[in-house]
C-alpha cells in the first residue's frame, strides 16, 4: 500500500435547491481511502451516506450538485470532470454496487449480455474474449455452472445470486475502488454474510478499495478497516474501525453502539437514542446532534464542532475541545 491515498474527499458539500431553500444532504465531509482499504460509512437513513457515494461516482440526481469541496482519485480531481470523461472513470476505475439486486439488473437482457456489454465498454476485447471473461467473473463470484447460467435472465436467479451477478458487473473492468451502497440490506440474513464475505475476499485478492455504505454496525465491525460515522450530512467520528467501535468518543457513536445487539455481551435491553435525526430543512444551530445528546452543553448550541483527534480517531464534538474541558462538567444540560 502506498502512502498517498487512492481517493481523497475533502470538504465535500452536496446541495439540492428546492422551493423552500437549499438543502445540504452532505456538508463538508472529508475522508481518504487508501488503495485496498475498506472504509465504512455508517449512519441512519438520511445521514448522507448514499449521497456521498453518488457524489464520488458523479451520479447525483438533478437538481442536486456538488457545490463545494474536492474529490481526487490518485491525485486527479474528478468532481468537476465533464460527463464524457467521468463516464470512463465509472465502471473502469470506480464501480458501484447498489442495495437491491432485484432492481439493479435490466430484466430484458441476459446477465451475459449485461456483463459483456460492460466489459467491452472498458476493455478492448473481442466478443468471444469478453464472453470468456464474463464466465470467469461469474465463476469467481460463485455462480454454479457459470458457462450455462450466463445466458439466463436476471429473474431466473435468486436474490443472493443476483447480488453476486451485480458484484461481477462491478468487478468487470477491475476497478480500483468499489462503492457498495448497502449491498446486503435487501437480502436474507443467511445470504448477507455470504455476500459480504465474497465482496471482502474478492477485493482483498485484487487490492480493490471499498467504500461500504451501511447502517449495520455488525457489518462495519466485520468488514471495514476504518469507519466514518455520519450524522445529518456531517462526519461525527472517523477512525480505525476497532478504535471507533471499542472506544466510541462521540455521544452519537456511543448511542449507536449501545443500540446494536452484541453476541458476546450479556443479554440486556438495547438502549435507543431518543428522538430522531433532524430534517434537512431544520438542522439546529450548532451541533446537529444537540437536541438528542445527553451531554450537550452551551457551545453545542452555538457553533458547529470540527473534527479533532481524540484517542486515535477524529471526533467532531465540543466535549473534547480543550477550551471546554473544565466547564462541561458543571454546565451539562440537555434539552
Amino acid at each position: 500500500m502506498s502512502n498517498s491515498p487512492l481517493l481523497q474527499v475533502s470538504d465535500l458539500i452536496v446541495e439540492f435547491p428546492t422551493r423552500s431553500g437549499v438543502l445540504r444532504p452532505v456538508d463538508r465531509v472529508g475522508f481518504d481511502v487508501r488503495a485496498g482499504e475498506i472504509v465504512g460509512l455508517v449512519g441512519e437513513s438520511g445521514a448522507g451516506k448514499s449521497m456521498c457515494g453518488s457524489a464520488i461516482i458523479g451520479l447525483i440526481d438533478r437538481p442536486g450538485r456538488i457545490s463545494g469541496g474536492e474529490i481526487r482519485l490518485n491525485g486527479e480531481r474528478i468532481d468537476n470532470l465533464p460527463e464524457e470523461r467521468l463516464r470512463h472513470i465509472r465502471g473502469k476505475r470506480i464501480a458501484m454496487v447498489f442495495q437491491d439486486p432485484l432492481t439493479s439488473l435490466n430484466p430484458l437482457m441476459t446477465v451475459g449480455q449485461q456483463l459483456i456489454q460492460t466489459i467491452r465498454t472498458h476493455l478492448p476485447l473481442s466478443a468471444n474474449d469478453a464472453r470468456a471473461r464474463a464466465i470467469g467473473l461469474l465463476e469467481e463470484v460463485g455462480i454454479p455452472a457459470a458457462a450455462a447460467r450466463i445466458d439466463a435472465y436476471p429473474h431466473q436467479f435468486s436474490g443472493g445470486m443476483r447480488q453476486r451477478v451485480v458484484i461481477a458487473l462491478a468487478l468487470a473492468a477491475e476497478p480500483e475502488l468499489i462503492i457498495a451502497d448497502e449491498p446486503t440490506t435487501a437480502l436474507d440474513v443467511s445470504v448477507q454474510a455470504q455476500i459480504m464475505a465474497l465482496l471482502k475476499r474478492l477485493c482483498r485478492e485484487r487490492g480493490t478499495a471499498v467504500i461500504l455504505i451501511t447502517h449495520d454496525m455488525g457489518v462495519i465491525a466485520e468488514t471495514t478497516d476504518r469507519v466514518a460515522v455520519l450524522y445529518a450530512g456531517r462526519i461525527a467520528e472517523i477512525g480505525p474501525t476497532r478504535n471507533v467501535l471499542s472506544t466510541p468518543s462521540h455521544p452519537y457513536t456511543v448511542g449507536l453502539m449501545a443500540s446494536t445487539p452484541s453476541t458476546t455481551g450479556s443479554l440486556h435491553t438495547l438502549s435507543q437514542i431518543p428522538g430522531s435525526m433532524p430534517n434537512l430543512r431544520a438542522i439546529p444551530k450548532g451541533c446537529a446532534f444537540n437536541a438528542r445528546c445527553g451531554k450537550a452543553f452551551s457551545p453545542c448550541f452555538q457553533d458547529i464542532p470540527v473534527l479533532e483527534p481524540v484517542e486515535g480517531s477524529e471526533v467532531a464534538c465540543w466535549l473534547y475541545d480543550p477550551a471546554y474541558q473544565n466547564t462541561k462538567e458543571t454546565s451539562g444540560a440537555s434539552e
Binding site: L59, H88, L105, N106, L108, T121, A152, L169, A170, A173
Partner: protein, 323 residues
C-alpha cells in the same frame, strides 16, 4: 405457449360471439326485414309464408347460431341498398381502408416513437418543450377539424395535394392499392396524417412518460454507474423496457385507426369501409352495418392477439419455461 395461444383463441371466439349477438340483434330491433322485403301491399298470409321460409319462427338461439355460422363462412346476406352480397361489398372496400390505416399507423408509430424518445431524453430542452406543447393540439383537436384544415392549407391554398378521392390504383395480387402509385400516394397523404395525428401524439406522450419512468429505475442507474455510454443506456436498455406498455396501447390504437376511419373517410371521400358504413347507416342497410360491426371486432381481437404474442418476444419473464 401453445396452451396460451389456444386459450386466447377461445377467448377471442367468445368475444366475437358476443359482438355477433349484437349485430344479429340489429336485424331484430332495427326495422322489420319482412316488411322491407314484401312492401306495404303484402297479405298476412304472404308474411307468414316468408317468415316461415326465412326461419324467423325458429327459437332465437337457433336463428343466432344460424347467423353466426353463416357469418363465419363470410355470408352476411345481401345489402339492402346495392343488392350485392355484403361480404363482396366489404371486401371490395376493405383494401382502401387497410392501406390508409397502414400508412397512418406507420406515420403515427415511427414519428410518435421517435419524438417520444427524443422528448424524454432531452426533457428540459427548448425543442422538446415545444414539441410537447404542440402535441397538445394533436390530442385536443377533433379529427374532422384537422382534416378540413389540412385540405384548406394543402389542397385549396397551396394546391399541392388532392383534397378528396383515392387517386390511381394498381392491382397487386388482384387487390387494387393506391399506395403503389404516385398519384394514389399523394391522395393518401392528407387523410393518413389526419387519421394518424391523434394516435401519433398519444403514442409520443406515452413513450415519453414510460421512458422517463424507466430512466429513473435502479438498473438504469446501475448501467450509468458502470460507465456505459448514454447512447447504449437510452437505446439499448431504456427503450426496450418501455416497449411492453407502448405496444399495448399502440396495438389498440391501430385497431381504432381501422375501425374509426369513418370520420376521415367522410371528410376526404375516401372509398373505404368507413364511408360504406356511413352510407349504410343513412339507408338503414342493416346487413352491411352488422357485418361492419363484426369486422371491427375481428380486427380488434386479432390485434390484441398479436400484441399478446409480442409481449413474449420482448419480455423473457413471461415465458413459461422459467427454470
Amino acid at each position: 405457449m401453445l396452451a396460451f395461444i389456444i386459450r386466447r383463441l377461445a377467448q377471442a371466439l367468445l368475444v366475437l360471439m358476443a359482438v355477433g349477438f349484437v349485430s344479429f340483434a340489429m336485424f331484430k330491433f332495427m326495422g322489420d326485414p319482412v316488411e322491407n322485403m314484401l312492401g306495404q301491399e303484402a297479405t298476412v298470409a304472404d308474411r307468414a309464408a316468408l317468415e316461415e321460409r326465412l326461419g324467423l319462427n325458429d327459437p332465437i338461439i337457433v336463428q343466432y347460431v344460424r347467423f353466426f355460422g353463416r357469418a363465419l363462412s363470410g355470408d352476411f346476406g345481401v345489402s339492402y341498398r346495392v343488392g350485392l352480397p355484403v361480404g363482396e361489398v366489404i371486401m371490395e372496400r376493405l383494401p382502401a381502408t387497410l392501406e390508409l390505416a397502414f400508412l397512418s399507423g406507420v406515420i403515427a408509430i415511427s414519428l410518435g416513437f421517435t419524438l417520444g424518445v427524443y422528448t424524454a431524453i432531452k426533457r428540459d430542452g427548448y425543442i422538446a418543450n415545444f414539441i410537447m406543447t404542440t402535441s397538445l393540439i394533436g390530442v385536443s383537436l377533433p379529427t374532422f377539424l384537422i382534416g378540413v384544415f389540412l385540405i384548406w392549407l394543402f389542397a385549396v391554398n397551396l394546391g399541392w395535394l388532392p383534397s378528396f378521392g383515392r387517386g390511381d390504383t394498381r392491382s397487386f395480387f388482384g387487390v387494387d392499392l393506391a399506395i403503389l402509385t404516385v398519384d394514389g400516394l399523394k391522395s393518401m397523404i392528407l387523410p393518413a396524417i389526419t387519421l394518424g395525428l391523434y394516435q401519433m401524439t398519444l403514442i409520443m406522450r406515452l413513450v415519453r412518460s414510460e421512458m422517463l419512468e424507466v430512466l429513473r429505475t435502479d438498473y438504469i442507474r446501475f448501467a450509468r454507474a458502470r460507465g456505459l455510454s448514454q447512447k447504449t443506456i437510452n437505446f439499448g436498455h431504456a427503450m426496450k423496457n418501455t416497449l411492453v406498455p407502448v405496444i399495448t396501447v399502440t396495438g389498440l390504437q391501430f385497431g381504432s385507426i381501422v375501425a374509426f376511419a369513418i370520420i376521415t373517410e367522410s371528410v376526404f371521400q375516401w372509398p373505404g369501409v368507413g364511408l360504406l358504413f356511413i352510407n349504410a347507416v343513412n339507408f338503414v342497410d342493416i346487413p352491411v352495418m352488422s357485418a361492419y360491426l363484426l369486422l371491427v371486432a375481428v380486427i380488434f381481437v386479432t390485434i390484441n392477439l398479436i400484441v399478446d404474442l409480442l409481449y413474449f418476444t420482448i419480455d423473457p419473464r413471461l415465458s413459461v419455461s422459467n427454470n
